[in-house]
């Protein structure tokens, strides 16, 4: 994950965290506020109901008392005491009186409980209303809630009972009051989102028709059945809720108030509902706002992170790019960072570092170049000094021979000129080898069967492997069949493998096993030459491919340099692994299709005015103790194995 991404996600996380905390906090506070408000409104409505209940009860008691004390009622009582009294005269009286007093319920009841006249149910005249006669002390009873039977079914009435003046110890009872129904509910002042309902019928089974609000029967009344049952089980004030649909805004909380009669029997339930819609809507809006803020925050975060990343990571990216450039060998890479903060200082330090590296590299190259020239001069001096000394001796012998007789001089002269010619030839050879190295031929690529090249080289040295007078070397070939042909110069490739075989033979003076193997790996062909010689030290491995470097007494130090040059010209690589006492392995990796333009490579190599700095070979870290000499430097006795020979 990039720094920019991390920065974005970090910013996003903190934005979401902050918005979430704020939204949750606001929602919680809002919910508490709404709940508190609902509770206050419900309490107020309950108090209003109780006050209205009390007031209506008092009014009903006063009205019923007034009716009972009225002269007409007294006359009725007197008339009914007469023999053969005709009660039918009063059949419609209750309705008229109830209408005049605005009572919903009014019954005139005789001493024996017979209904004389009934306003709410005239047809009941002549039937009994026995509960009225069970008490003689209605004056102190006041108003009470009771269940009344009407022709429309049972209902709850806020009732009062009064007795007219007794006539001959007989009474006429006046039972009157108001229904506790939708008309009563309509008098309650309800706040927005609140409603009051009353459940009137407390039969065993829930009856939807018995649930009323100010407009009459309630829709979906059956949903209230559990609430009513809840109060029936525990007749005290409770709260409950109903969610009408999957929409949370449809939730409604209810305060349940049991309505009890004179003997505390449960007669009904008042339900005061408070819609949760407003709260849910507000919460929804808060969430929407939070989402909106979060969205804006994320957008802002993206912009800021992009901007911040641009501010912070661009110098770092430049530093990374510069470091990669340096790692790739471009030591002239510079980081253009102008800030003065830590990143700027880091960039400045990086630039300074690369400058110093370039300077040090230049100095190193210069010193290596000087060293190479010195080594070359030493080699040249050493190579040239050997033939020059016999030339000097031969010329001095010739001078001394002039003083001798002619016959003797001639003999000396012949020997001397032969010697001179031989040494001059020797000098030419030395000069030729150096010249060949300086002018490596450019590869002429064509399809080459690597296995065939390896076999040819091995056949070439078969005689020497088992030559008399030296310990035998056992060649082993591990060539992969179906090896694809590669684009290569067969002669140069033959020369390179030949040099490595010669080098291996020089590393095994006591004999051993020389294994050559080929294989294919991911677009390359791998050639391995493995000997069982004494091995090389790590230091020797480090400089093994440096031109003119040799561990042999008579080597030129060009053999492995030539091998490395050939492999490089083919776009391949060569590496060496060596372990003291075990042997040395050279690995050549050649592309099946070379990516490097060999001509350009050849030109580059050919145009080098000075001996190039040796490309560092790939050397494995395994400890190496062997001290193999460069075989090309040391011509074997009579064997055509020297690099010089091959170069020639």
């Amino acid at each position: 994950m990039t720094f920019r991404s991390r920065l974005f996600w970090l910013f996003t996380f903190f934005v979401l965290l902050a918005v979430g905390i704020v939204a949750a906090g606001v929602t919680l506070v809002t919910r508490n506020a709404f709940e508190e408000l609902d509770a206050r409104r419900t309490d107020a409505l309950v108090a209003q109901f109780r006050e209205e209940f009390k007031q209506r009860g008092q009014e009903a008691a006063l009205q019923v008392k007034g009716i009972a004390d009225a002269e007409a009622t007294t006359r009725m009582a007197i008339e009914l005491m007469r023999p053969n009294a005709d009660a039918s005269t009063y059949y419609w009286d209750a309705r008229n009186v109830a209408s005049a007093h605005q009572l919903d319920i009014l019954d005139f009841v005789a001493t024996d409980g017979t209904i004389i006249s009934s306003a709410e149910w005239p047809a009941r005249a002549g039937y009994k209303l026995t509960w009225v006669t069970n008490s003689q002390d209605w004056a102190s009873a006041g108003a009470f809630l009771t269940r009344m039977e009407t022709q429309d079914g049972p209902t709850l009435g806020l009732m009062a009972v009064a007795s007219a003046v007794p006539v001959a110890d007989k009474r006429v009872y006046v039972v009157g009051g108001k229904k506790l129904g939708k008309d009563f509910l309509s008098t309650l002042a309800l706040s927005e989102g609140m409603r009051a309902l009353v459940y009137l019928n407390l039969d065993k089974d829930f009856s939807s028709d018995a649930l009323l609000d100010a407009n009459g029967p309630v829709q979906e009344a059956e949903r209230f059945a559990p609430l009513v049952e809840q109060v029936r089980q525990a007749p005290n004030e409770q709260t409950a809720g109903i969610t009408w649909s999957s929409d949370p805004a449809s939730a409604e909380s209810f305060h349940l108030l049991p309505l009890q009669g004179r003997t505390n029997e449960l007669l009904g339930v008042l339900l005061i509902g408070a819609s949760q819609r407003e709260r849910v809507v507000v919460e929804h809006r808060i969430i929407l706002l939070a989402v909106g803020v979060a969205g804006i925050g994320l957008l802002l975060g993206a912009i800021l992170s992009w901007w911040g990343a641009a501010r912070i990571t661009q110098p770092v990216t430049k530093l990374v790019y510069g470091a990669k450039q340096v790692a790739a060998g471009n030591w002239n890479a510079r980081v253009d960072v102008r800030s003065k903060d830590d990143i700027g200082q880091l960039a400045a330090a990086f630039n300074k570092m690369t400058e110093e590296l370039v300077e040090q590299r230049d100095r190193l190259v210069q010193s290596e170049r000087v060293a190479a020239w010195r080594e070359l001069a030493r080699r040249l001096a050493h190579e040239l000094k050997n033939p020059l000394f016999p030339l000097q001796i031969t010329v001095e012998n010739l001078r001394r021979a002039r003083k001798k007789d002619a016959e003797e001089f001639d003999e000396v002269f012949d020997e001397s000129t032969e010697t001179l010619l031989a040494e001059i030839e020797n000098l030419k050879g030395i000069i030729g080898r150096f010249s060949d190295f300086a002018r490596m031929p450019k590869p002429e690529l064509r399809p080459v069967d690597v296995n065939e090249v390896v076999r040819t080289v091995v056949r070439l040295f078969e005689a020497q492997f088992s030559a008399v007078g030296r310990p035998p070397i056992t060649p082993e070939l591990h060539l992969e069949s179906n090896l694809p042909a590669i684009q290569a110069d067969p002669l140069l490739l033959h020369r390179a493998i030949e040099n490595l075989v010669l080098n291996a033979m020089d590393a095994m003076p006591s004999g051993g096993v020389l294994a050559l193997a080929t294989s294919k790996h991911d677009g390359i062909v791998l050639i391995e030459i493995v000997d069982t010689g004494s091995g090389l030290t790590p230091e020797e491995c480090e400089r093994l491919f440096t031109p003119y470097y040799t561990t042999k007494q008579h080597g030129t130090g060009l053999g492995l340099a030539v091998v490395q040059s050939v492999i490089s010209d083919h776009g391949g690589t060569i590496s060496v692994e060596s372990e003291a006492g075990v042997g040395t392995t050279f690995r050549i990796e050649l592309p099946i299709k070379p990516a490097v333009d060999p001509q350009r490579t050849a030109k580059t190599a050919a145009s080098a005015p000075t001996p190039p700095a040796a490309p560092r070979p790939r050397v494995h870290d395994a400890p190496r103790a062997a001290a193999n000499d460069a075989p090309a430097d040391t011509p074997s006795d009579g064997a055509p194995n020297s690099a010089e020979t091959m170069a020639a």
Partner: protein
């Protein structure tokens, strides 16, 4: 004035010269002189002397099916009013006997298939057209009689003997009227000037017919209002805004208590409970019988009707049929409970009634209470009468039973029962409806008994028609036999001092 030529007695005397039909053997009837009151000179206080003039204001029951003067009247109130604008050939006297009216006399042959009616001379329709034979045939609107004109009337020849044809012609369906310019022109003592019951809820103005063959009515005009509630009518009468009002039977007692002059007819209306023929809930005759036993008719009469009416054990009241006492009083709560116990749980019955009829409402509620005491559950369903015309078949089939009030159209038992049975068409078996002209009193009784024993019709009460009269109304007379002849407006005068 013909009126002045009539005989008098104290005050107003109904000069029914003919007491019953003056028959000429078996074939005919003599024509009586029309009954007309006459002014009396001397001997009477001025307040009791008949006087002309004034407008009588009548407030009658609120009916949605308001009287259409251009159509044959069939309902009680319609008959009340239509009788003052158009008349029949024959009219019943106070004893219920057919008497000549527009037909001066009639005669028949021995087969009682051929009848000849002689028209009263000097009779004119309101538009001045004389009542001539051909005009009478057209105004009768009875092509089924196939009348043919004669020199002074018309004759009819029926395929079957019709001994009661004169009585049949007393029904309001046989009144004579001509349609002129879409308006009805009768021969009655009053002509219709305006009617706007469809717009203003019901108001009719009528003026006295000066050319009336029986003499000009005393009052100049009659203003009839049909849009007042019973309570409003009572108030109007008490404050002098109305002279004649119709009082619901259940309010008659209260009106009397309030010192209002109340005149009642004999029971001319039947309150009954009718079961829908295809009701599954009421299909069990035992249940219907139980309900009949459960209904406390006496309590309904005493309480709901305030004793203004009679508990009904038959379809026809005793004064019409003379046989009602033969039908036992079905009210027997104990028998009802026993039947219900025998039947077992029964389905709930839906009883429908017109919501704007307080009597029906109160009676229905009482019936429901009675039924509940017997173990029968009845749910009441009120149907606004204003919607009755809009009720479709589906609405009508919601109820299992209906509470109905029907008018008894004739004091003649056969005609009255026939009218009842016609109104019950669709509720009882068709064979019970048939009642031909040859049916005697025994047949009428048997037919009525048959209907009652099916318990598809449960009679509840017989109701009178009750009128309240204002203090200036004089000479209001509705003898029992003439109770269905309509309002006696032609004979009424208004006390001058009170005008």
């Amino acid at each position: 004035m013909l009126r002045l030529l009539a005989g008098i007695s104290a005050g107003v005397v109904a000069c029914a010269v003919t007491s019953g039909a003056l028959t000429r053997g078996e074939e005919g009837a003599a024509s009586p002189a029309p009954t007309r009151p006459l002014l009396v000179r001397g001997g009477l206080p001025a307040s009791e002397r008949p006087s002309y003039g004034g407008t009588l204001v009548a407030e009658l029951g609120e009916l949605e099916e308001a009287w259409q003067p251009r159509l044959p009247a069939s309902r009680g109130l319609d008959a009340e009013l239509s009788s003052v604008t158009s008349e029949t050939l024959v009219r019943l006297d106070e004893r219920g006997e057919p008497q000549p009216w527009l037909a001066e006399s009639w005669e028949r042959d021995a087969t009682m298939k051929k009848w000849k009616f002689h028209l009263r001379p000097g009779v004119k329709f309101h538009d001045g057209t004389p009542l001539a034979p051909q005009t009478a045939i057209e105004a009768l609107h009875r092509p089924d009689l196939r009348p043919t004109a004669t020199s002074d009337g018309f004759q009819v020849e029926l395929p079957q003997p019709s001994p009661t044809l004169p009585a049949d012609l007393t029904l309001r369906t046989a009144r004579l009227f001509r349609m002129v310019n879409s308006g009805e022109q009768g021969t009655g003592p009053f002509r219709v000037d305006t009617w706007d019951f469809q717009k203003a809820g019901g108001r009719i103005t009528m003026s006295a017919n000066a050319e009336y063959w029986g003499g000009r009515p005393f009052v100049d005009a009659v203003d009839v209002r049909l849009d007042r509630t019973a309570r409003d009518r009572l108030i109007d009468l008490q404050v002098g805004k109305a002279d004649v009002i119709e009082i619901p039977a259940e309010m008659a007692r209260r009106a009397s208590d309030e010192k209002i002059r109340v005149e009642s007819t004999p029971p001319v209306e039947l309150l009954m409970l009718v079961f829908r023929y295809d009701s599954a809930a009421s299909a069990n005759v035992r249940l219907r019988e139980a309900l009949s036993h459960a209904i406390d008719r006496a309590a309904i009469v005493n309480l709901v009707l305030q004793k203004e009416g009679e508990a009904a054990s038959g379809l026809l009241p005793q004064w019409i049929s003379g046989t009602e006492f033969l039908h036992p009083d079905p009210s027997d709560p104990a028998a009802a409970r026993a039947l219900v116990n025998e039947i077992g749980p029964a389905a709930t019955l839906v009883l429908s009634y017109y919501s704007d009829d307080e009597l029906q409402k109160a009676a229905a509620e009482r019936i429901a209470v009675n039924a509940r005491e017997a173990g029968i559950v009845i749910n009441l369903r009120a149907i606004p009468s204003s919607q009755t015309e809009k009720l479709g078949q589906k609405d009508r089939t919601i109820a299992d039973a209906y509470l109905m009030r029907i008018d008894l159209r004739s004091p003649l038992a056969r005609l009255a029962l026939a009218g009842v049975l016609v109104d019950l068409n669709g509720f009882i078996d068709k064979e019970d409806i048939a009642l031909d002209e040859s049916s005697d009193a025994t047949t009428v009784y048997e037919r009525e008994k048959s209907v009652l024993e099916s318990y598809r019709v449960i009679p509840i009460a017989h109701l009178p028609r009750v009128y309240g009269l204002g203090p200036r109304v004089r000479n209001w007379s509705m003898p029992p036999g003439a109770a269905m002849n309509g309002l006696p407006l032609a004979d009424v005068w208004l006390e001058r001092e009170a005008q």
